[in-house]
């Protein structure tokens, strides 16, 4: 009836599938027996969750093995299978099963642990048992890639299922650390529900989060305020959804900054409120991107389109449309739009105004 002391450490391998938090809880629960049973295992209940992994990994190196629970009936074979396949990632049901089984058996365990003799890693084990030891490499304390942690992080697994490209996120260490620490149920789920509420579809969430992973560090209340601000400016729900989709960083900007940007475009381009709205809905990157190129070419944007088009077509017809600064006879954008017609014809196009007029009548 008594469990072989050798079998106890094998049980620990099955808990590898659990999430960080649960693992920490588990170690806390088994502090007492661990101290008595496993010499190599110095349980420290105060350890932080990621450190936990580190130590966890090291300790289980020697002691992890398959657990053949002699007292469990049909569940034993299941346990075997689940433990053997413990290396496969993101098996939620499996981990659940092992959790269930383990928690059930852990009750039994607790009672019987007192009776068991202390287990030493120096204890000789038989060949069969040695073969059955499955030792995963320990989790590294610091890594360049999230790949090492994906197996053990429910958060990361769920994000991958959503379609988030972790290879892009791991290039930003702060973001990657943040994601590792966040709890899916508590933090991330709230954020996802909020984004869905804004109007981003399920299949678009992955792309959005890949670009804007920093949104998790934003306060949900702030985000809601910003969306409310946009609604107050008469952007419809569909408009806001489209803007956030095209410019993922939009909601990271404070209300003040959004307001400044909207005002800037309305003033500089002398647009009506409705036209500014249309412009921003179609090109939300104007709100998030740099204003340098806009400011530089302000004159061009304020010139009527037909004027630029006519002049360009005339130059093309004459073969003088040279817009490459490196080549000779270069014509700058500024000159193309700002100078009056007569000077344009004489200096730039080297033609008469009559020729220009004749050309215009062929369009």
């Amino acid at each position: 009836m008594a469990l072989s002391a050798q079998q106890i450490p094998r049980w620990f391998n099955s808990v590898k599938l659990r999430s960080l938090i649960n693992a920490a809880q588990l170690t806390k629960r088994f502090t007492r027996p661990a101290r008595t049973l496993l010499h190599g295992f110095s349980a420290q209940p105060q350890i932080s969750s990621d450190n936990c992994f580190l130590q966890w990994g090291f300790k289980t190196y020697r002691t992890s093995s398959l657990w053949n629970s002699s007292q469990s009936t049909s569940s034993s074979s299941q346990e075997n299978n689940s433990a053997q396949s413990s290396l496969l990632p993101s098996m939620n049901e499996q981990s659940q099963k092992t959790q269930n089984i383990s928690s059930f058996d852990s009750e039994l365990f607790l009672e019987e642990l007192d009776e068991l003799p202390p287990l030493s890693p120096m204890q000789p084990i038989s060949e069969e048992e040695a073969i059955q030891i499955i030792a995963d490499p320990p989790l590294p304390p610091a890594s360049f890639t999230l790949r090492d942690y994906v197996d053990h992080s429910e958060t990361l697994q769920k994000l991958v299922l959503l379609g988030v490209d972790l290879s892009k996120i791991e290039k930003h260490p702060e973001a990657a650390n943040l994601l590792l620490r966040l709890d899916f149920e508590k933090d991330i789920k709230q954020m996802l529900l909020f984004l869905k509420d804004v109007g981003i579809e399920d299949n678009q969430l992955g792309a959005f989060l890949t670009k804007n992973h920093a949104i998790f560090s934003e306060d949900l209340e702030n985000l809601k305020t910003r969306v409310a601000y946009l609604h107050s400016k008469n952007f419809s729900k569909a408009d806001v959804a489209q803007m956030v989709r095209k410019a993922p960083f939009l909601l990271n900007f404070s209300v003040e900054r959004l307001d400044n940007r909207l005002g800037f475009f309305q003033k500089e381009l002398e647009l009506s409120v409705k036209k500014t709205r249309d412009l921003v809905v179609r090109l939300p990157r104007l709100l998030t991107g740099s204003l340098e190129p806009v400011k530089e070419n302000m004159k061009v944007f304020n010139t009527r389109l037909f004027k630029v088009k006519e002049r360009h077509l005339f130059l093309t017809y004459l073969g003088r449309a040279q817009y490459d600064p490196a080549k000779p006879n270069y014509i700058s954008l500024d000159k193309l739009v700002s100078i009056p017609d007569e000077i344009f014809c004489e200096e730039i196009a080297k033609a008469s105004v009559q020729d220009f007029e004749k050309f215009l009548k062929t369009l």
């Binding site: 037909f306 006519e310 215009l360 009548k361």
Partner: protein, 287 residues
């Protein structure tokens, strides 16, 4: 000076409508430009449009201002022909016959030659010639009618579908080709459809890349005002220049005589007015 000039502004003039501009916006712009001169005195100015051009088409657009708007109706009733240059592109077909429409089909066009195109244009002209006579409701039994028909001076003076009085190819460099079309009762869309049908006749496909009106009645490209010239002075001059012609023309179309004088127009147009009007009124069985 401004308001006085504006109150005396009556008559017809032509502008050159650029592509991409709706005729309504053009009319509004001209009205605005004229009102700018003496703002508060005039709230509105009657500016009317003659034969319209759709947004993508370009060319001569006749406007009337003040009492000139009445003349627009008279011009319409004169049923004058108009000249267009129509550019086509071989090799594809779209749903609205324009180059930027939704692509329906792509074909090769190596087999198309200038001769084939000319032949097709001649066929088109011939069939429309027949339609011209038919829609004119002319009793061809009279000697005058016969002579006019021989000289090709007949045209319908009431509503009819688009009729092509002349069509020829000015330029052929596959896949591009340029046609000159003289027609009446047309719409620009029908002209684009014509390009499409020419493509089909050539056993290939074609889309229309440009429709440009070069003459509307007696207003030609030379007298058309460009965008930069849409101001009071230029418009006044244009009206002044056009007035005698307008008067002569409309008088002719109202007069009952068989006046076979041809109007000077570029190229080879044959639109003389006058005689057809009386003949058109005859309700004899058209033959």
């Amino acid at each position: 000076m401004g308001s006085a000039g504006l109150s005396r502004l009556h008559g017809l003039f032509a502008v050159y409508k650029p592509p991409g501009l709706k005729w309504k916006h053009l009319r509004d712009t001209v009205e605005l430009q004229l009102l700018k001169v003496c703002g508060p005195a005039f709230a509105h100015l009657k500016v009317g449009v003659g034969h319209r051009l759709d947004a993508q088409a370009s060319g001569v657009l006749v406007l009337g201002v003040g009492h000139g708007c009445r003349l627009l109706t008279d011009m319409y009733n004169a049923h004058l022909t108009k000249d267009y240059t129509v550019r086509g592109l071989l090799g594809k077909a779209t749903d609205d016959f324009r180059e930027d429409g939704r692509l329906v089909e792509k074909t090769t066009y190596d087999h198309v030659t200038r001769e084939k195109l000319d032949r097709i244009l001649a066929v088109i002209q011939g069939s429309h010639q027949k339609a011209l006579v038919m829609y004119s409701n002319l009793d061809l039994k009279t000697q005058e009618a016969y002579e006019m028909a021989v000289r090709g001076l007949i045209r319908p003076m009431n509503k009819s579908p688009m009729l092509i009085t002349g069509i020829r190819c000015l330029y052929f460099a596959p896949p591009e080709f340029l046609l000159e079309v003289q027609c009446m009762h047309e719409t620009q869309k029908e002209l684009r459809k014509l390009v499409h049908e020419i493509g089909l006749e050539l056993k290939t496909t074609a889309v229309c890349t440009q429709v440009r009106r070069t003459r509307d009645g007696f207003f030609t490209l030379d007298s058309a005002l460009l965008r930069t010239q849409w101001d009071l002075t230029n418009i006044q001059d244009a009206i002044r220049a056009a007035t005698p012609q307008v008067a002569a023309e409309l008088e002719k179309s109202l007069s009952p005589g068989l006046d076979t004088k041809q109007l000077p127009s570029p190229g080879w147009s044959w639109d003389s007015q006058g005689p057809s009007s009386t003949l058109g009124l005859e309700r004899g069985a058209g033959q």
